[in-house]
């Protein structure tokens, strides 16, 4: 009898011990910037304290957004994490290749109303998280692009520093006044459309173009007069200022604007050095200006210029998201953690790190903390986003290549765009089973 009693006690102890053993969630992210990282770590810690039965371990896995090599090999080998930090515009691609678990399904299982959850985020961000009508991710931060300009240069050139160029026509005129040349060499360049965040998307949208028709699942940029015009306009800069001299000017700073990824080592920034007067760039440049610019640096920000006849400015936004990679060991607990991070975690992150939030609730507090970012937050309502397609990375590269063909005079704008469109569309058709 005594023996049985001991056994029962032992069994009870064993069961309670097993129950107390928390589920371990592995979370990979690549935010190596100390400020960003600290905010994430703090949110993770808070989650762990609140949910003793789930313990999240966050691991910093450096890598670039489109080359998720480590993730793929880990998935293939069955050693992947439970939660992964993914560039949002590649969600469709990863989902199509069956590298992600359907997050929506697990959110439903833990009793979350998906439809009302979706409404908490800005539209474009949640749209990027959906592929084939299935929710694969929840949005994390976002960003926006504007025109930065050097006020001192404006004064020197006799321009009003409080009146940045509004239209493309004004912009061209300003650039002419701001550029200084000595012999063959530029001492200062007013502006170059494709430098910084002046990607083919940026100008295509600024000129009122559209890239993709979701209804017919067709790429339409090669037929879009406005996008053709946006490339032809950029070509006028290559012709007027000389593509080789421009490339040389920027390569002298250790950066290349037509190459893909030169300078993982931080280049010297010609804008911050006062040798480039204007540039399209994202809201993250604010932090760099604070850290790296000379003390007497005076700058302003303004919406991206647009052609007169379009009549209004646009911008576009990217950002990150949280997903569950295929084969995660604890998808349900992972979904719970993602839900927490995308809502509470993100609100904290926006305030801590000055990253633009995608959750609507966070915006007022964000603007209050970072008044200089009000322009960006306002622009989010008109912001475009890249079409969520499984060929996103290819489309990006093909557009950049097409632009370079035009800049170097190898193809005219219409041909370059047509070639790129045909190539990407045929890949897309394969995936859509057409």
């Amino acid at each position: 009898m005594k023996r049985i009693g001991v056994l029962v006690i032992f069994a009870i102890l064993l069961i309670s011990f097993l129950e107390a053993e928390p589920v371990k969630i592995v979370f990979w992210h690549n935010m190596s910037n100390p400020v960003d990282r600290k905010s994430i770590e703090e949110s993770v810690q808070m989650f762990n304290e609140r949910n003793p039965n789930i313990q999240v371990e966050s691991i910093l896995v450096p890598g670039s957004e489109t080359e998720a090599t480590k993730l793929m090999t880990a998935i293939a080998g069955g050693t992947g994490p439970d939660v992964y930090y993914l560039d949002r515009f590649t969600v469709a691609q990863r989902a199509y290749y069956q590298q992600l678990e359907p997050l929506g399904k697990y959110l439903e299982q833990i009793g979350i109303d998906i439809e009302s959850l979706k409404k908490q985020f800005v539209d474009f961000a949640i749209e990027e998280c959906i592929w084939d009508e299935t929710l694969y991710a929840l949005p994390w931060d976002t960003d926006a692009r504007v025109l930065y300009y050097n006020k001192k240069h404006f004064k020197e050139a006799g321009l009003d520093p409080e009146k940045p160029p509004k239209t493309i026509e004004e912009l061209d005129e300003y650039v002419d006044k701001l550029t200084k040349k000595a012999g063959n060499r530029y001492l200062r360049i007013g502006f170059v459309p494709w430098v910084g965040q002046g990607w083919p998307y940026t100008w295509g949208w600024a000129f009122g173009g559209e890239f993709y028709d979701p209804e017919n699942q067709k790429l339409i940029f090669a037929e879009d007069e406005n996008i053709i015009k946006s490339l032809e306009w950029q070509k006028t800069y290559a012709d007027k200022y000389g593509i080789r001299e421009l490339e040389a000017f920027f390569s002298a700073f250790g950066m290349s604007f037509t190459g893909a990824n030169v300078g993982s080592a931080a280049p010297i920034d010609p804008f911050l050095q006062g040798q480039l007067s204007m540039r399209i760039d994202g809201n993250w440049l604010l932090a760099q200006i604070r850290e790296l610019a000379p003390k007497d640096f005076e700058y302003g920000i303004a919406p991206i210029p647009y052609p007169e006849e379009i009549g209004q400015s646009t911008t576009w936004a990217g950002g990150w998201s949280l997903v569950i990679p295929k084969g995660a060991k604890h998808p349900k607990e992972a979904a719970e953690f993602i839900h927490y991070m995308a809502t509470e975690g993100q609100i904290k992150y926006a305030v801590d790190t000055a990253h633009l939030p995608t959750i609507k609730e966070a915006v007022p507090e964000f603007v209050e903390n970072y008044p200089e970012q009000k322009l960006f937050a306002d622009l989010l309502t008109v912001a475009k986003s890249r079409p969520p397609l499984p060929v996103g990375a290819l489309l990006w590269d093909e557009l950049v290549d097409a632009r370079n063909y035009v800049l170097y005079g190898e193809k005219d704008a219409a041909t370059a765009l047509k070639d790129a469109q045909d190539k990407v569309q045929s890949e897309l058709n394969k995936m859509l089973g057409k």
Partner: protein
């Protein structure tokens, strides 16, 4: 089991780790990539048979053709230039002068530097405005080119920069020059041969086996040229320096297009095979293995 057989088995046993490594990590992937090159394959989805379509598409892909011709340019320039630089350095290093071991280590030193650091320094070297090279050229009144910023110069710049790594080749040639019996040179001097005749009639035949080795390995390396263009130019400007290796990487890891990437790898593999075959065949005519 005879004694000899037993010893042979022990030998195999010792070599086994290397053999297994070769089979599992090299030969198996080569064969499997041959299979994948005939499929549409995206790693996490099972491959789908498409026959020779990937190969057919390659030849209508302008970027493949561009990167292919870039790679041929690298091959045609890197290999001979490396040979000349290697032999010239070796001829200097083989001399028995005071402090020669210092010079030998100096020549080898750059090869120890990680390629990333070296490529970054090279970028500054060839910086069109502030670079050392154009600075020196300006001193003698030459307006230097824009190097990596210029489409028509970028490949040549990379080939020049790659000579930084000539140290190991030079040491290899030097070692084989040291084995040449001195009497031969003495006899030649007595007969009144000049330096060029001595090099061509004595030195070159003796270093020809090393030359064959160099030609084969460096051709294969040139076909796989990746790290320097990737770090220094990212393939630009306007894809003028994009090598096949970089284009394969783009398809494999950016677009997860493993089938297409495998097909390109096989093209390189076949070219390397043909090159090695031709070199071996012709080597009978010019390689001297001693009497």
């Amino acid at each position: 089991m005879t004694h000899r057989k037993k010893r042979a088995w022990i030998g195999v046993l010792f070599a086994l780790p290397a053999i297994l490594g070769l089979v599992i990590l090299k030969i198996y992937p080569i064969i499997v990539s041959g299979f994948y090159s005939l499929t549409e394959y995206h790693i996490t989805v099972s491959p789908e048979w498409v026959g020779i379509e990937n190969y057919k598409n390659l030849f209508s892909d302008p970027l493949f053709i561009k990167s292919f011709s870039n790679t041929m340019y690298y091959l045609v320039l890197l290999v001979p230039l490396g040979l000349v630089v290697g032999i010239c350095l070796a001829l200097l290093l083989v001399k028995d002068i005071k402090g020669i071991s210092f010079f030998r280590s100096m020549v080898y030193l750059p090869s120890i530097v990680p390629v990333y650091a070296f490529a970054t320094v090279a970028l500054w070297f060839f910086n069109p405005y502030f670079g050392l090279v154009n600075g020196l050229l300006a001193r003698v009144g030459i307006n230097g080119p824009l190097w990596v910023a210029d489409e028509s110069w970028v490949k040549f710049t990379l080939v020049l920069a790659a000579q930084w790594g000539a140290g190991p080749t030079a040491l290899l040639f030097m070692a084989s020059m040291k084995d040449i019996p001195r009497e031969l040179y003495e006899a030649a001097t007595l007969e009144g041969a000049n330096a060029w005749q001595k090099f061509w009639r004595i030195t070159f035949p003796f270093i020809s086996p090393v030359t064959l080795y160099y030609l084969i390995t460096s051709s294969i390396q040139a076909l796989q040229f990746f790290d320097m263009p990737n770090i220094m130019t990212g393939g630009g400007p306007n894809n003028a320096s994009l090598s096949l290796g970089m284009y394969i990487y783009r398809h494999a890891f950016r677009y997860t297009n493993m089938g297409y990437a495998s097909a390109m790898s096989w093209i390189i593999f076949i070219i390397a095979l043909i090159l090695s075959f031709v070199l071996f065949r012709t080597s009978m005519k010019w390689v001297f293995y001693g009497e």
